[in-house]
Symmetry: C2
Subunit: 382 residues, 2 copies
């Protein structure tokens, strides 16, 4: 594939061959609840989190969804890892993890969501991993600021993008996984090169030893096994930048074909909510029913969540719990009295601080991204 050829120069920067030869390894006890997650792909590993395991503000690492485009690189070794920083910079760098750890550390708590979360629900159906509701989770990430690294390298005034590449290698028909971040987002003090997830080294499936964290943006920006940052005046022509992870610039009809020039890169999660209690399909006794869940909107804050217990005819505000932290989901709670035996569809609808509201019908798009219509669970009251 021509794409892979064009990526050759970047791919050469990946320190895989040296890492393979080393003895010191990544944590081998994989803190990853394989048995508890729902497997959508074995190789590369793609696992979603059952909604039942998403009922806490911080998602435990072992319950965190796993999204990979390519297999986990073998023989990951922190001691010999190098992060290359080059392109339109005054001083190309090759940084060790220790050097990154020596830089001022920052911590951000981020709700990470796969752009394709909910893809399974689009009509007409869309090709790709058929994520339902569980390609989302919240974790605390600690690392160096990407801005500090770029300042140390001295990005030139012509710089507009940072192309990122991980240590995972192209395989078969799958081109190397390259993504890019516009310079202003890359320079934001909350954008990190993380080396910890929930206070521990990042597990291998989640990107050990380094992972980019681009808060509020789609999970695809959170490059795992981060090995290369190339500063550039021009956009990457990688498949994953030029073709994938793009969304129509305007609303399109379901099933429509969209011309490439009418697609633009994704640049942030949209307003959305998820009911985690009760679970869909639950049978509950008559009386008080507690509803709870999380709502998030990428870089935006959640200002309200409304709940309907009559299939969307009428809505009541839920209580928002705790303080809004930027980039994280907000817990909501609601209680109602179920006075009779019946089947009850409970819907949630979030609003963000720009007044964006979850739609009743998600906006279809050719890749099935950003599915965000009302969440709903059906319970049987007995």
């Amino acid at each position: 594939m021509a794409l892979a050829g064009r990526l050759g120069a970047t791919a050469a920067l990946v320190p895989l061959s040296s890492a393979r030869a080393r003895g010191a390894q990544a944590p081998t006890a994989e803190p990853w609840g394989k048995d508890k997650l729902t497997r959508l792909s074995l190789r590369p590993p793609d696992y979603e989190t059952p909604v039942a395991l998403l009922d806490s503000f911080i998602t435990p690492v072992e319950h965190f969804y796993v999204r990979s485009h390519l297999p986990v690189p073998p023989a990951l070794e922190e001691a010999r890892w190098r992060l290359a920083v080059d392109g339109d910079v005054e001083t190309p760098l090759s940084l060790s993890v220790a050097e990154l750890r020596a830089m001022p550390a920052a911590t951000v708590t981020v709700t990470l969501e796969c752009a394709g979360n909910g893809r399974a629900f689009f009509t007409p159906p869309v090709a790709g991993i058929q994520w339902k509701k569980g390609a989302v989770g919240t974790a605390r990430w600690r690392g160096a600021r990407l801005a500090d690294v770029l300042k140390r390298a001295g990005a030139k005034s012509t710089a507009r993008f940072v192309h990122m590449q991980g240590a995972d290698r192209p395989l078969g028909t799958m081109p190397a996984f390259v993504r890019q971040v516009p310079l202003d987002k890359a320079m934001h003090p909350d954008t990190l090169i993380a080396y910890e997830m929930n206070g521990q080294p990042i597990p291998p499936v989640h990107g050990f030893p380094l992972r980019a964290i681009v808060p509020g943006w789609e999970g695809a920006y959170a490059m795992k096994w981060l090995a290369s940052l190339r500063v550039s005046a021009t956009p990457s022509d990688s498949f994953w930048v030029a073709t994938a992870y793009r969304y129509p610039s305007r609303r399109v009809a379901p099933g429509a074909t969209v011309a490439a020039e009418d697609m633009a890169p994704l640049t942030g999660l949209v307003v959305k909510s998820l009911i985690t209690t009760p679970l869909d399909g639950a049978t509950l006794p008559r009386g008080a029913i507690a509803v709870a869940g999380f709502a998030w909107a990428g870089e935006r804050d959640i200002t309200r969540v409304d709940i309907s217990t009559d299939s969307g005819a009428t809505w009541q505000p839920a209580r928002l719990v705790g303080e809004q932290q930027r980039y994280t989901w907000r817990r909501f709670e609601y209680a109602f009295e179920a006075t009779r035996a019946e089947s009850c569809l409970i819907l949630s609808r979030a609003t963000d601080d720009r007044g964006n509201v979850q739609p009743a019908v998600a906006h279809w798009n050719p890749s099935g991204y950003l599915w965000n219509q009302y969440d709903g669970v059906r319970v049987e009251v007995r």
Copy 2:
């Protein structure tokens, strides 16, 4: 079938054999736009109205949807028609159409809708005629008051129901079409034995020469070719009363099996709206886009209609046009500016004077009745 046997006594009242022998016939020029309607069944005739033909307050007779359970009786003849009134009455009657015309006349304008309108949209699918949006229409009906007929016959104090039967005959596996009206609705001054539809004799497919009009209730109460009224202290055990046209007494899960004792008769249309302009699938130039349609709620009045042009995220009130007439749909109008080329889903959501609001998700039920979720049309703005 046992049902047909039990109905034998009532069926004997139907004056078909005498009508067949007569020369004077119903209007033969059928004012029925067969070519303009959408045929769902040829025999018996079931035709729905394309939404494009529903953009007027009064639906022309030739565009009015046709719902029949059994074939149109042959040789309909007004001059020899008899309406039998018997059962729990002091004085059984056999009324000619001329006698009914001699009674005080009343006119009601009624939005008539098939209980199964929208059945095609239920998930999981439901058996039965797959009506989409067009089994609805509004007509002016003129006739005698059912109450006046019942008073003349002298309904006994034990009377609770009026069983109605038309002149259509059981055929194959289809039992005779019998329906019943509770006495209080039957005695309401707006409940008619109609002999005119939109100022003309009722066309044969619509019930010539007599049709019951039970305003605000499902079309199935509007018995065509009305031949028999039997006053009774007990409910009919007819298939169409005891089994069909029943709705769960409480909300049920989609696809659920519902016990017979948990089903109750339908007793009125629910709040609903229909966008008639623009048409679904239309391509429109950028600029002002006019939205219009009708909303109705059976016996209730419409108090507001809201429109969304962003897939249900935000809503704006439409203008309600003219005065609300009881039992009729209310026209709504709305305009918005489409500033860019895109696919736009326009939704409508009506509210009635009891505060009932159309749901985002229709309430599934085993027979697929009363589908009333938000109406929607998708237009392509160029």
